[in-house]
Every structure is written in C-alpha cells, then in structure tokens.
Symmetry: C2
DNA sequence: CGGTCGGTTGAAGCTAATCAATTAGAGTGG
DNA sequence: CCACTCTAATTGATTAGCTTCAACCGACCG
C-alpha cells in the first residue's frame, strides 16, 4: 500500500511515537480491503496474523463458547483491534465480523512485532494503547458484574447522550439486537428494559431515543466515572 | 530499599528487559512494608501513587458501585497490580486490600513512569505484561458473560486441578466467601453450586475438594482454552 | 401479495440474589 | 476440658432478574 494513502492512520496515537521510516515499512506491508457486511474477519482461536484497523464501516468483536455468543465491542473508524494477540504472537480471543460494508486495513502481525522490536517510540505508544484497552475491559467487566440490565442500559444512554452533545436526544449506534448483546442481555430483555425506563422519561422512537427527564434517569442509573467515563 | 533485598523481583518478566542501573534506581525509591490482614492498600478513584508487588501473603482486588461489591482477582507472590493506572497516570479502577498478613513492595508511580521513558527494554517488558493482563481480563469477562455459575465453578475446579498436579484433589486458594465473589456469585449460591456438582463426583471436605469423576465434570464444564487457559 | 426481518409483548421457567434460620468450626477464656 | 463466642458455611423459603418460547406487529422487498 502507498504510505500516504491513509493520512488518518499516521495521526493515530498508536503511531504517534513511531519513526517515519518504520511507519512507511508497516504501510508498505499492509493491505487495504473492502468487505461487505457480515463478513468474518477473524475467528477466535486462530493464530493472530494481522493487526486490524477499521477505516470505514463497523466491526463487531464477539466471542462464543458452548453455543452461547456475546458481543464484546463495536469498533468504528478509526479504531484498531486485536493488538494484544499480535504482540503476544498468540491466538485471537475474540472473533470479528463486519456489521456493515467496511474498509479494513490489515498489517501483517510479524511486521508489527518487528516494528515493536526496532522502534522505541512505537513500543511506548503500544504501552499506552494497551493500558487504555485494559482499563476499558475492566470497566466493561465491572458494568456487567455490578449492575442490572436496566442500569446498564440507563448508563449507556447517559454516556451516548454526553458523547452526542447533550441535546436531549440520543442516536443508537447500532440496531437494537446488537445493542442488547453489547449490554449483555437478550433483545427481548432490552425491549423490556426500555419499557421500564419509560417511567424515567425515556421515549424510544426507532433508533432515536429522547431523554425527557435526565435527572430521574441519572438517579436511577447512578453513573460512575470509574465505569462509564472513557477518559479515566 | 537495598537493591538486592529482593532478588525475586529482579527475576520478574516485567524487569527482564530493564537495565541494571534503572532497576537499582527503582529499588532505591521503593518501600517494603508489612501489613496485617484486611488493610486497605488502595481505594478505587484515588490517583495512582504506587505500583504494587505482593512479596508475601495475598491481596484482593475488588470494585464497588452503588452498594454492590465484587472481587476481580487475587494477587499472590510474586505478582504486581495496578500497572495500567500507573502508566496512564490515572486513577485506580480497583480497590485492593490484604486478605492475610502480607509483605508489599511499593514503587512510586512517578519513578516507574520515568523508568518507562528512559529504559527501552523496560518499555517493551511493560507491553508484554499489559498485553497479558488485557487478555486475562477478556477471559474473565467471557467467563462471566457466557457461563452460568455452576459452569464457572466447574471450570475453575478443573483449572485448579491442572495447576495443582492433577492428583484428583484440589485445594481451594481462599475461603469460600472470597471464592464465591471471584466467581461472580453469592456465598449461598456457591454452596448450592457445590451441591449441584455432587452429581458429577465433586466432594467438598472443607477447603479440599475431591474430583472423583473428572470425565463427567469436564462434560458439564466444557472447558475452553480461550477462557480457561492462562497460557493462551 | 406473501415473505422475511427487526422489534415488541406475553407467559412460563430457570438462574441467581435476598432474607432468615441453622449448623459447623476455630479460637478464647474460665 | 468445657462452655462461650464469633465467623464461615450451609439450608430453606421467597423474590428478583433474566431467558426462552411463542405469538404478533409493522416495515421493507421481491
């Protein structure tokens, strides 16, 4: 691939500390591909062959065991995934599929590891990146462990509301089936949870949600920066 | 502290790539302290002031929100905790308390960050360490999300059995109250889960558990290396 | 028009938490 | 050594939370 094909990649914090020549080397080895929706990009258990970036579209990370499946995260532009497996030269712990037509950048894992060995700035950027990932999963874990389904939904709505400009409405980032899985519940349960939140001023209109009584919703949700704030 | 006071620390993979003079600098700044049981070492939400190591004893990492509490992990010698918060110069996401009389090594966070900036080998060791932590939490998350309480217990017993030499018995690493919280259930529920596992050859004798029918227990548990194997 | 799919609703059942009571064990002091 | 106490652990009854199965609705599409 050409080095300057994707200037937004070079801007990522992951590559902030990397020397130009090493970045160029990575990009030359990389593949940029378009995928339709619902394509399996990786299968948990497979050896980590590539580091992935979502340039356009959306990718869903999920896992399954003995018949049960759960979505762990959605990755949107410009986000990476599977960095830890690539660094450890291990198998993927999560599967990934596109949820919509997507443009994906793939860097061969060995090139990433070589760059990690050779480029001190890159190594430091990876530290910060992984520390952030780690803390994000810890928060997800706490969310799932310490809250009921209704509370998780309420807090998620408040979080989206903050990220979307606090104008009283929220646009859901995906269909409700996917949202339910992200929140660790069934679609039926999400539907009922929205029903419960009616009493707290939550009005669902398709993929738009109105928050007409943020105060009472917040009282119910008890948002906690150590779980909900992406910055901490 | 004297540099050679704790040779086992220098052996840790976290310091494997570190230059001697930098390690000495860290150790000189470090504190080694003895604590009785049930001492709060850190409080979630506080700024990360130290990187911690358990030299002797045991530390419990836990979190709470709106009245509910859950143990996330036990740390035993020689293990570190709170590395991600130290590196990101952020607040702790988990609280920590000693569960028994313990000897704890504390390195001031700023010294760790300075060493991270100055020592390339240390930076790379941190990458590997954090990647391992990240994958460990992802596995915990999957365990909690995709399995019932009985399944989590069954798989945990099988894991302990493997780690303890596969001789048909398992020694529980902590009291049952703590174990229940690690497994994400109440003590009552753990007790009932053990009751359920009787039918699969599991016999509880205090803190020792006999696995008399590993085959049927395994059939029930359906262990998955992508959740249960600490190596992958 | 029938078909599929996302979403909702209802009923039933399961898993787990809660509350309450009891038992078992470890340690203490007489 | 025995009663006493404190806590861990268990057991039973009840309730809450969530899943499952089934039916249904409405939108979109061939």
């Amino acid at each position: 691939m050409r080095v300057d094909a994707l200037p937004e990649i070079r801007q990522l914090s992951l590559f902030a500390g990397m020397r130009d020549e090493n970045f160029e080397g990575l990009m030359k080895a990389a593949y940029l591909q378009n995928f339709p929706a619902q394509v399996e990009l990786i299968d948990e258990g497979d050896q980590a062959d590539f580091l992935f970036f979502v340039i356009e579209g959306c990718v869903e990370l999920y896992a399954e065991t003995s018949g049960r499946e759960g979505v762990l995260a959605l990755v949107r532009p410009v986000g990476s995934f599977i960095l830890a497996a690539v660094i450890k030269d291990a198998v993927y712990l999560m599967s990934a599929r596109t949820t919509e037509k997507s443009r994906i950048l793939m860097i061969p894992a060995q090139n990433v590891r070589d760059a990690f060995e050779q480029d001190d700035g890159f190594a430091r950027s990876i530290v910060v990146e992984l520390a952030g990932y780690f803390r994000a999963v810890v928060k997800e874990y706490k969310d799932l462990r310490l809250r009921t389904g209704v509370e998780r939904l309420a807090n998620r709505l408040i979080k989206y509301h903050l990220n979307q400009g606090e104008n009283g409405t929220v646009c859901l980032p995906c269909d409700k089936k996917t949202l339910s899985s992200i929140l660790g519940m069934t679609p039926e349960n999400l539907s009922r949870a929205f029903g419960t939140l009616k009493a707290y001023g939550v009005k669902v209109e398709g993929s738009v949600v109105r928050l007409n009584d943020l105060k009472s919703l917040t009282t119910l949700a008890k948002p906690n920066p150590l779980i909900d704030d992406y910055r901490t």
